[in-house]
């Protein structure tokens, strides 16, 4: 999306300690990489957290950064899943300005994408969409014909398929 570079999806397993996110963010920013999305949540064992990071920047050098992240004391591992066949999901909330005129069409598009309508007023609709990031991009494209008031996306989360640990 940005500069036509691949957005890499990294999964980072960390000790749940103060400063760990700042250290990881610094490692990326120092080398000119941009964090496009970031999801952090507590792992099954509450001492640890799982981060899913979408990152863009020069292809060459990314390996190096992954090693530098892995080297941080509070990081247990950092894995690039970009080219794995993993399950990748994201949720988005999209609010469009639409009155009685276009409402039917808007709801039809939303239904096609399996969205849930989570708020409806005389002037607006808010839909919730869950899927891979491309699906959310496509829905946004379809809804461009209406005035999109705002969009909030969670950023992607990722899990390896099968019995393997991410």
């Amino acid at each position: 999306m940005i500069n036509n570079k691949t957005i890499h999806t990294l999964s980072v397993y960390v000790s749940n300690k103060p400063g760990v996110l700042a250290r990881i963010a610094q490692t990326f920013s120092r080398r000119g990489y941009n964090i496009e999305s970031l999801v952090v949540s507590t792992a099954i064992d509450g001492h640890f957290s799982r981060m899913t990071i979408g990152v863009s920047g020069a292809e060459e050098g990314l390996d190096q950064i992954i090693k530098q992240v892995a080297k941080l004391i509070d990081v247990l591992h950092c894995t690039d899943h970009t080219f794995d066949d993993a399950v990748v999901k994201e949720m988005g909330l999209i609010k469009i300005a639409v009155g009685s005129d276009g409402r039917g069409e808007a709801l039809q598009i939303a239904e096609h994408f399996g969205c849930k309508t989570v708020d409806l007023t005389d002037e607006s609709i808010m839909v919730q969409v869950i899927g891979d990031p491309d699906k959310i991009d496509a829905l946004m494209g379809m809804l461009q014909k209406f005035r999109i008031i705002e969009i909030v996306r969670t950023g992607k989360v990722l899990m390896s398929r099968g019995a393997e640990i991410t």
Partner: protein
């Protein structure tokens, strides 16, 4: 140690530091560390405290101590400006992989983030320049955190660890077990990694095939304590060795297989060897830009092997053909049985020819030269001193003319290039090795950045030879301006220098002035014979001498300038590399 006696956080800190074998704390007191300073009185221990004159001095002393002994020292400073004053020292240690534990005071925990008096967010400010850091959230965490900090600072690739301690944490009661377990599941030292047998086989095969092999030895070999194993291997297979500036002493520089140190101002023959070898085996160096010139052109003709304990160094600057992760000693031990005597006779003969043709040299005639002073110290101290340098021209000449045969005997700020490092680091080194001769070579610029530590040297009567190589210029920058900027001198003239001998005398330190080449031997001898504490030798040297050889930054090594260009010769292009 009884487990749960009644104590406060400060007392627990002292007990934990003592359990870690700490000999010295270098520091400066202040409001938020009073409980820890009080604990130094109320908790008897063998730890000695050295009160410095500025916090930066404390950090460089701990650094010099660690480089000279291989053991970590502790820095203890207060919050706010006390803490921010040590950042340069922490960064210096971080760049050169030096172990250090830095304890900073912090406001009481309930005031953090509210702009309390002398509050600085040192935990976040220092994040990019530490190996790891902690903000203590409960007094009972102190034993675990201190234990982890020492483990992290001293193992794997060493580095500084900062512990920020709110005043209520050092003042409050501490009831936890002093021998708390560490909880760092994400930390892998790579010290005990099994050495990859395939990688070893590949290195052994590359060595057996090579006609012109070369070892490039870095600081990592010293940190690993692999110098003896390295020497045995080198002598067994007869391979020539060059080192980085920080690797000086990892292999004896007076050994016939040594090419000295390489890089921007290293020996011409080492740099020529880099350009001509067909196999380069790097053990424990990070391919710093000072030795690469232009990374894209570096050693293109050779197979490159990179051995390092830090996986993130592999491929950072140079993509090696073969690599091996592990502690240098373990890798050398794993490699040794697989290699035998190599057929390097022709290659060594060629290198010897270059050694004869391109020695480090200087003119003894004319004005007094820094090189002459350093060379005389080398001769009269039998090359056995711990040499500590500051940063600049004198640092390069100290590297060239004071040959180093033993590990931990050449202490210099390599990666960071921190002016002001020399004097405090020399003080730290002398504390760590009281029976060894310590010579500190500084320029007049760097010396003035931390000269307040003359008080510390005088107070403890440390017999350091403080050699101020005084050209009244920031010489290295002036050299660049002369060579690449049509000699436009900008911001390099140190007019207004004090009389350094009078200054030394004001601190109660013996001073010598050295102005004429004919006096060098006599005054160097007098300084070495002086035994009643520190002495300062102010050397009024030629103002506009230049360091050669020189590889202009960012240029390929082939572009090395071996000798001073003749007057009227072609103008040099501005370098494209960093500084």
């Amino acid at each position: 140690m009884s487990d749960k006696m009644s104590m406060d956080g400060g007392q627990a800190i002292i007990k934990c530091l003592e359990a870690q074998g700490v000999e010295y704390i270098f520091g400066y007191s202040g409001g938020s560390v009073i409980p820890i300073f009080d604990a130094m009185i109320t908790t008897p221990s063998n730890i000695k405290f050295v009160l410095v004159r500025h916090e930066q001095g404390a950090a460089h002393m701990a650094d010099g101590y660690a480089r000279a002994t291989g053991k970590p020292a502790v820095v203890l400073v207060t919050s706010g400006p006390g803490a921010t004053n040590v950042i340069t020292g922490i960064m210096t240690a971080h760049m050169d992989s030096v172990p250090m534990i830095c304890l900073t005071g912090q406001s009481v925990s309930w005031m953090i983030g509210k702009d309390a008096f002398q509050e600085a967010d040192i935990f976040d400010i220092t994040m990019p320049v530490v190996k790891h850091s902690y903000l203590v959230k409960a007094s009972n965490e102190l034993p675990r955190i201190i234990r982890e900090a020492f483990h992290i600072a001293t193992t794997g690739r060493p580095g500084p660890v900062l512990i920020d301690i709110p005043k209520d944490m050092s003042a409050g009661p501490m009831t936890a077990d002093l021998s708390a377990e560490m909880e760092i599941p994400g930390y892998n030292t790579h010290e005990d990694d099994e050495i990859n047998a395939e990688h070893i086989a590949a290195i052994a095969e590359a060595l057996s095939k090579a006609q012109k092999p070369l070892f490039l030895i870095g600081h990592g070999v010293m940190i690993s304590g692999a110098q003896d194993a390295l020497r045995a291997l080198v002598e067994k297979i007869q391979v020539p060795v060059t080192t980085t500036l920080l690797g000086k002493g990892a292999f004896p520089e007076t050994h016939e297989l040594s090419l000295g140190w390489l890089g921007m101002h290293g020996s011409a023959y080492a740099n020529k060897a880099i350009c001509d070898c067909d196999l380069l085996v790097n053990i424990g160096s990070r391919f710093d830009d000072r030795i690469l010139g232009d990374p894209a052109q570096f050693c293109k003709q050779a197979t490159i092997v990179h051995i390092d304990i830090d996986p993130s160094e592999i491929g950072k600057m140079i993509q090696p053909d073969i690599h091996c992760i592990g502690d240098a000693l373990n890798v050398i031990n794993a490699l040794e049985p697989h290699v035998g005597l190599l057929n390097t006779g022709e290659w060594l003969k060629k290198l010897d020819g270059w050694k004869q043709k391109y020695p480090f040299k200087f003119k003894r005639q004319g004005g007094l030269k820094m090189q002459h002073v350093i060379d005389e110290f080398y001769k009269l101290s039998d090359g056995k001193a711990i040499v500590v340098t500051d940063v600049g021209q004198h640092q390069m000449w100290a590297g060239q003319f004071y040959k180093t045969d033993k590990t931990n005997n050449f202490l210099s700020s390599g990666g960071a290039g921190t002016m002001g490092f020399g004097l405090p680091a020399a003080i730290g080194a002398q504390f760590g090795r009281p029976d060894d001769l310590v010579i500190c070579f500084s320029g007049d610029g760097g010396f003035q950045m931390t000269l307040f530590e003359l008080a510390t040297a005088a107070l403890y009567k440390l017999p350091i030879k403080i050699v101020v190589l005084n050209n009244h210029y920031l010489g290295m920058v002036r050299q660049w301006q002369e060579l690449f900027y049509d000699d436009r001198k900008s911001g390099v003239d140190l007019e207004g220098n004090p009389d350094f001998v009078k200054l030394a005398e004001a601190y109660g330190i013996k001073g010598f002035n050295l102005r004429r080449p004919g006096d060098v031997k006599r005054i160097v001898k007098a300084a070495l014979d002086y035994n009643e504490g520190p002495c300062l030798i102010n050397c009024e040297v030629e103002k506009t001498d230049n360091v050669f050889p020189m590889i202009p930054a960012g240029k390929p090594i082939e572009a090395m300038i071996i000798e001073a260009p003749k007057a009227g010769s072609k103008k040099l292009e501005k370098p494209t590399g960093s500084t």
